[in-house]
Every structure is written in C-alpha cells, then in structure tokens.
Subunit: 293 residues, 2 copies
Amino acid sequence: MTRIWRFSGCGASSRLTELSDRRMETVRRLSINQYTVRNWTIPQLLEGCAAEQIPYVSLWRDKVAETGLDETVKLLGDTGIKVSSLCRGGFFPAATLDQQSRNLEENQRAVDEARVVGAEVLVLVCGGIANHNLDRSREMVVEGVDRLLPYAEQAGVKLGIEPLHPMFAADRSVIVSLREANAISELFKSRNLGVVIDVYHVWWDPTVYSEIARASGSIFGFHVNDWIVPLPDLLNGRGMMGDGVIEIRRLREAVTAAGYDGPVEVEIFNEKLWQLPGGELLRLIKERFLRDV
Amino acid sequence: MTRIWRFSGCGASSRLTELSDRRMETVRRLSINQYTVRNWTIPQLLEGCAAEQIPYVSLWRDKVAETGLDETVKLLGDTGIKVSSLCRGGFFPAATLDQQSRNLEENQRAVDEARVVGAEVLVLVCGGIANHNLDRSREMVVEGVDRLLPYAEQAGVKLGIEPLHPMFAADRSVIVSLREANAISELFKSRNLGVVIDVYHVWWDPTVYSEIARASGSIFGFHVNDWIVPLPDLLNGRGMMGDGVIEIRRLREAVTAAGYDGPVEVEIFNEKLWQLPGGELLRLIKERFLRDV
C-alpha cells in the first residue's frame, strides 16, 4: 500500500480530504483500463493518472509493445502506479493444431509480460467459435487453460477467465457466463486461476449473484461501466457508469461480500468518450466512480 | 391437414415432387414471419406464400390492424394459409399500476385477435426493465402472465413465452434464457402456457439442449434464422439460415426430439433482405430452409 499512500499523502486535493473514509477507500481501488482513454500512449496514461491520483491502470499488450516493455516498467516505477491487469491472453479455439500451438506460445509471452509489469492478473478472453463447432470450441478453452496454467504458476502470474456477453459468443468468447467461468476455474483448483467479472458482460444474468458468491476466493478482477439504451454499438458503445441500466453498486457490493478487495477497473469502449480530452475524461470517471460504483 | 394437402395436391412443382418424404414434411411446416418480408401487406404476404405453396404465416398486430381483422380472416380462408403465431403480447414490466392495467387490456385484445385469426400461439415478448429494477421487472412478468392466463384459457389461446437474447434485456425482454421461460411455464402448469424457441435468442446458451428437453410438451413455436459475423445490427442484422454460426439443424433436431412437430417460422429482420423483391426472398428462404433447417 506504500505507493498508494504516496498519492494521498503528497497531493490530496481539498475535495478528496473531505471525502468519507469509504469514499477514500473507493478511490484507492480505482484503475483505468487503457482503452478507456484509447488515444493515449502509456506515458500519457501514466502521467494523466498520476495527476489525478489514480493508483492503478490496466494495460494492453499492443500499447506495451508500442512504448516498449522496459520503458513501461521504468515509467511505472517512476510514477508508482500499479498494474491491475494486462489485456489479454486467451483466444484458445483454433482451426488447426498448428494454430493451437502458436496460440500457446503467444499466451506464454503474455504471461511473461504480465510478470514483468507486475500485473495482478492476466485477463483471458477465451476466443470465439472455431470450425463452426461451439461445443468443441468450449472444450478447446479448457484444453488451452490446461496447457497455459503450469507456465503461469511457474511465473507466479494469475490467470483470470473473463466471461463475455453472449453477443460476443461467435467471435470473441464462447465462455458467456460466470457460471461457465467458475466451472473451469473449479476444475483446476489452482491459486493461479480465477475469474474476472465485468458488469457489462454479466449484469443480465439471473444467476449472477449466486455465481459471484460461488466465485468467492477466486475473483481476480472487477470491471465497471454501463449498458446504455439504445446501445450505440456492440463493441464500442459501452456507457459511463450512471448512464445506463446496470445496477453497478449492487454488483460491487456482491463482489465485495464475496471477499474481493482489489482494484476496480473502469473499462469503457465508447466512440464519444474517446473524443474527450483525456484529463477531462479521467475527472468524469472519478466523479461517477464515487457516485455510482 | 386438409388445407396443407390442398397446396401439395393442386400445384406441386416438379422440384417439390422430387423431394424426399422428409423434405416434403419439412416444407409442410414452413411459416413465414411477416416481418421477414416487412414491406408486404397481409394481402401481398398471403398471395406470395400461396404462390410458393408455403402453408403458414406469422402475423403482426400492426399489420393486422392495417388490413383489418375481418379482411385478414377472409383472406386466410380464401388462400387456406394458416397462422402459426401472432406477434405479440407481453411487455409486462410497467412503471406504474395504471400502466400495468393498460398493458393487461392490450394483452387481452391480443388474445382476442389470436383467437379470431386462429393463431397456434400468441407470442409473448416479456418487456424490458421498469424503474431501474431488474429483479422486480422479472417479478412483474410472472404477475402479468398470472393475470393474462385465465383470459387466454377462456379464449382457448396458447401463450408462448419467448426468451430474447440477453442483449435485449434492458429494453425488450428481461426473460433472457430458456431456463427462465421454462421456470415460468412450469410455475403455472397450464396447457395454455408454454415457450417459443428462436435460435437467434438461445443458440449461445450452454444449457440450451437440456432446456429444450425440459420444455418437452410445452414448446409452442420454433423460429429459425442465423447469427452472422460481424453482426450488422442488434435488431435488424439477423441472417438468412446458412449464412452464420448457429447450429440450426442440431437445434431443430433437439426440438423435434422434445416432441415439437408444429410449424417452423422463418423470422429474419434484415435491412438488406428487405430490399429484395418478396417473391425472390421467399424462394431463397425455401432453398435455405430445405438445406439448413
């Protein structure tokens, strides 16, 4: 917690000092997913978050490659900002055995990067349908986790299976519910395997609260945003917290009740918000994070 | 079956007579949902289907109102085409008690129309979230069914709960899985209450095959189309059978194994297909129906 206290200690604004303990605690868990501020490079993101006393970021591998792994690590050290997660591994279903092998190697590189940047979890987006066979694709996810997990355990990196919304079943993740993610997680009984819960993907599910409770002890991440009506776009139409229908606070409380006290990531892909200046967007996020999460 | 045989008997094309028994049986179950050929009025739809020896249509209430109920009944009698379903009742969650009462009256009118046109089922699209409360909205669906069911029983009309895809949970149906639809259906134990299964809404669900088996005896409708990648639009981006990832044949076989032998509706809302001449679209549907359903 040393680094986080450094933020609160050296630059707390009068607004922040007026906040209740609960609210201070909340801000201390805030993480900005890099693609929420898509146009920023890693140096810009870390500088922007430092200015706003935001203690965590979630990084994407393409952005890490752009800045360079060593430079990223150096900047993280300079700013004291921590990495809540690295996006992403996964995409296990493959049309051929050769493709499956290449996927494994790519996932091992992702584990290495997660270790180097000190990410609390490597997010697994499991991948869509291969060879027009949904059941077989789901089996390939289990096989993929089975092959990757020993490597992650060796590296001391946690893998978090993130179920995506069913509307992504075809092309992004055949794992579409927390129930399935929990089932895979339980299959392996490893301290390095758990789930990542994003409200956008799971809010609609009648079993979500029982599945959150079931995930107790293996929740490795919690992501917030909102579902706006009408949805502007499947992929890039996510809303700012408070602008939609998701009962975010209730879900956050359920996740807390299940024992999760790690960073809370704001992950919003939204064409309109990407047009805002990054600093302005961060201030809006903090405001909504305090009010609605 | 008299009316259907009339089609096969008096105008079977050489193509049709060459078909195997199974295929003949398949075409005899084909129904065209009116919004698949959106630009057509009811007279056009019935004439078009008669020309293509398609024995069933699914009608929408706004189109029935446009043509008039009496005229619709007369045209149905003239052509011998039967009504697989009427779209739609439902939309139970309401912000106020007053709105809830008005919904009930509207649903009763829908039951009356379903009776008059001889629809095999009145499709219930259950409605989205009222008052930002998902759980309460789901309760209001059960309450709504509870109030409407005696009226439907009296009228001899079957009500079919159609779970919609979770991406419609906010604004169209808080009932997003066959599991929930079955649970409501089982709650009432009425021969007039069952489920309607549309492949577009349920294909992604890991429990879909067990839930289809569970629904045995209370499947009141089966709808086909496809999920294309990338999806052009949530609402009006459905695909023609064979153009997407849904394992339609497997789902159809599961529904058949569960004892359903009623009409199979083609329900495709697609901007591009709406631009085709209606007759051409019907011929394409028949071709794909035989090949992929």
